[in-house]
Subunit: 317 residues, 2 copies
């Protein structure tokens, strides 16, 4: 097999039409270049040049090779660049998983947009799954990073980064006695114990245990055990069931932006234990450079967002 050097040498001679000048340009002497050209011709068993007293002239076969040789060299240069970009995390693919509630948080679309601008050669693959599947996916390396709402255990080679902590709000059917009257503002925050006798609709525990347990625990702290009317497979489904009048639920702040027919929202008296975290989980080691870039950017953006918010709340810090 002939190699790249042969092609480089060949191209130089083809373009100069002169071994001596080509050798000069390649930084070697004329005899070895003549030899290498001859070796290439023997390897291909084809005459590539006609030797003329004034220099070398391509044969038809040589001209045919010239075209391909250029392409191949170009292709190699491109391959090299691609490899290097990939290694720097500037090219590749990152599989981002998230639970059903995560994409309503404005952080995600913003991050995706920013990442796409900063790393245009990295494609993002988005996958929605339950928390359990997400963690499995991280382990199995089918997912590179996952937005989850529960505090996934850091053990087992996963690391978890806090992105945001949101307060929860209450979602009630429109016609519920505790629902705010439309048009009237400034309803005071509800206390959790006001909901002691209400049927609760919760996100199915086995899909995402974090939320479920969080709410149960908060209710217990508030002095009651909630009555579970129904479990829903996705966080949004709980709101649909609320709309149907089957009960009430608690949901993180960011879900408030979607205005569902028949659902009324009320804030909740703050309970430091009852918050909806948004976390980004990834493998502690073994991630691709592109995935690393993604997580880095997510953390930086989360810090920036948090700083901006604190600054906004406390302007003369």
């Amino acid at each position: 097999m002939f190699d790249i050097r042969h092609l480089r040498y060949f191209l130089a001679v083809a373009e100069e039409g002169n071994v001596t000048r080509a050798a000069e340009q390649l930084g070697l002497q004329q005899p070895p270049l003549s030899q290498q050209i001859k070796a290439l011709e023997q390897e291909l068993d084809v005459q590539l040049f006609r030797r003329k007293p004034r220099g070398m002239e391509l044969t038809d076969a040589g001209r045919a090779l010239q075209v391909d040789a250029k392409h191949i060299l170009g292709h190699m240069a491109k391959a090299r660049a691609k490899v290097e970009r990939t290694a720097r995390g500037e090219q590749g693919n990152v599989v981002v998983g998230f639970t059903s509630s995560a994409p309503f948080h404005p952080f995600l679309p913003r991050l995706f947009r920013l990442f796409g601008e900063r790393f245009p050669h990295v494609s993002l693959t988005l996958e929605e799954h339950g928390t359990t599947e997400l963690v499995e996916g991280l382990r199995a390396e089918t997912i590179d990073a996952a937005f989850v709402r529960s505090p996934v255990a850091e053990s087992h080679g996963l690391s978890v980064h806090a992105i945001s902590i949101e307060p929860m709000f209450v979602a009630l059917p429109n016609n519920h006695p505790l629902a705010p009257v439309p048009g009237v503002d400034n309803f005071p925050p509800l206390a959790l114990e006001d909901l002691a006798d209400e049927p609760f609709i919760l996100y199915r525990r086995h899909t995402g245990p974090g939320f479920y347990d969080l709410i149960i625990a908060a209710c217990n702290r508030a002095g009651f055990t909630p009555k579970i009317a129904q479990e829903a497979p996705r966080l949004i489904s709980t709101l649909n069931l609320v709309a149907a009048g089957l009960g009430v639920t608690l949901a993180p702040e960011s879900l408030r932006s979607l205005q569902l027919e028949g659902v009324a929202y009320r804030s909740l008296k703050s309970d430091p234990g009852l918050t909806a975290p948004l976390n980004l989980a990834c493998r502690a080691v073994d991630h691709s450079a592109a995935a690393r870039r993604f997580v880095e950017m997510a953390r930086a953006e989360a810090r920036a967002t948090k700083a901006a918010k604190e600054d906004g709340g406390n302007n003369n810090a």
Copy 2:
């Protein structure tokens, strides 16, 4: 610069996921293969594999390279094949020139068709020029082979192959006294001296001196000097001028197939000196393999045609 060998080695390891087995498959020992992989990684300044106790696993950068490496190797194989085909004359381009009268000879379309079937990767470029330009073109290597009607001098590095020798016929205006009456067959061949007083229309001498001189010479042999009424720039134009009643002309047999309004044809008493040769001229040396193939096929086909004709005329030879 890394070369093809590196890529071959890399691909083998990438596909086996195991240096030892890859080495075996490549027909070398494990240590040098390990070394070459390492060398490639250093050259690219990128880690291509993760070393695991069970073997080697591609990194993202490695995966990126794997794709390109396959393409590049495939491209090299294709380039090699193309060069070899070109050298064998099975790929390329042949520039075929011809004078204006040549394409009416059935030999040309037949040859073009046969050649296209036999050498599908060779493209033919057809160019019509005067004989002078054709010869210049052959010299300047802008034309590879040329069909001419005159016996081009073999000297000056050109070789000429006889393709066909056609008798000439007389073209007369429809209303000429010598013109055959339509509907009546079997007009005897005219003798050249019958045309002694007719105005002649001839193919312009400087465009293609062969024909011109041939006719003048034949007339001289027949005992008269023809009266040149007009010269035409192309052989077909002479027939058009005949149609316009400006005179008579002589043309090779194959032109008889085009039936022009106002032109009548009569055969001519055979004169061994007054024939229209169809010749194929090419450079004696220095032709591409594809051009060589073309000329070879033309000569073979000419021989076959001649044999068939002789056989047809003299069936019990």
